[in-house]
Symmetry: C2
Subunit: 218 residues, 2 copies
């Protein structure tokens, strides 16, 4: 049984509608003409609510109308295309931002079982609609990725400088606080480290993933 | 009169302490030995508090001990070094993430008057201590930047492809929803657009700034 997802605000709602999602519920305020019109075209009923009810139904602190629920889309089928692998990522905002970057760069996104839910409300908001324009799949076991992908571990410091390797890439991005486990790094064919100015510095996980995807695309 | 800033959690607290900030108040729980030790070495008094009081004093939903306040550091003096210019940025998390990236890449950060406060609690948390290891200054008027910097506007689509130009760069990053105003873009010497896969896609402001800094560093 797949769960329901929450689509908050006009951009997420229209991205989901364009992707053909069927909504279970659509809550909208009276002055949200766009949603009333759009739902009418889709033949879907809208429940008229006050700002207060909209806020209560939403996860965001200051939601914009509409707030809709829908059955989560089917998971994508893994494919030999460039893919960011979220390995134990815990921050939903980072996960959503990485999905947004991946869609912009034409990459897929996959997650390991210990990574935050990619379809939670915060992740959807940070994804800004990109959830519906890129492949999102699951990796039960990092070790199997090597059959279809060149596996690249992103590490903060250049322990190893790896030669350029052909794609498609599976780019491993680790947990915000702990990074990638040693066992995971040993599964990788290559290591990518983004050059930094000082030893004490570090990059946000979503920024590191974005710069790494850009580097591998060159 | 400069305001007080809020330093939440051990990492921000120790980055601020290492930078020589004097704390006005330090609240810590009884089991936070590191802070008690560190404050002792600094000759600063710690107020023992319960988890509940710590939460009430903090801005974060789930703060870690300690929570300290200090007078904001003096603003840095503008200098002809690579600098990200935040032009009307409104999200404190994005601003802090850009400060973190700038510090990692050895760049300064400056803001226009209509940009979010760079020393607010959310911006400090997203900065992860980088506020204390990079220059942070103010730009009253974009037009004056051209005297000392090569001014580069980041735009989502390549309207103009600009030739490579010598630094130091002033990289203009615009508001999350509206981007850079036309008047601001006309002040730029060059335009930088990050190549994207689809026309509908876009990048988070902090990811775009990170990739742009990386490109200009090459």
């Amino acid at each position: 049984l797949r769960g329901l997802i929450l689509l908050e605000g006009p951009n997420l709602f229209s991205a989901a509608a364009s992707a053909g999602l069927r909504f279970e519920t659509i809550l909208a305020t009276e002055d949200d003409f766009d949603t009333h019109q759009r739902a009418g075209r889709l033949g879907q009923r809208v429940t008229l609510v006050s700002d207060r009810v909209l806020s209560a139904a939403a996860d965001a602190d200051h939601p914009r109308s509409p707030v809709a629920s829908a059955v989560a889309p089917e998971e994508s089928v893994p494919r030999p295309a460039n893919t960011v692998i979220l390995v134990g990522l815990s921050d939903p905002g980072n996960a959503g931002t990485i999905i947004r970057t991946a869609a912009a760069f034409g990459w897929d996104v996959a997650r390991t079982p210990n990574t935050v839910d990619l379809w939670g409300p915060k992740t959807l908001r940070a994804g800004a609609g990109a959830h519906f324009s890129t492949g999102i799949w699951s990796v039960p076991d990092i070790a199997t990725l090597g059959d279809t992908h060149t596996v690249i571990a992103t590490l903060p410091r250049p322990h190893v400088v790896s030669p350029p390797m052909p794609g498609p890439y599976a780019l491993l991005v680790g947990n915000e606080a702990h990074g990638l486990d040693t066992e995971v790094v040993t599964e990788a064919h290559a290591v990518l480290s983004i050059p930094m100015a000082g030893d004490a510095e570090s990059l946000n996980a979503a920024v590191a993933a974005g710069v790494a995807m850009y580097i591998l695309d060159q």
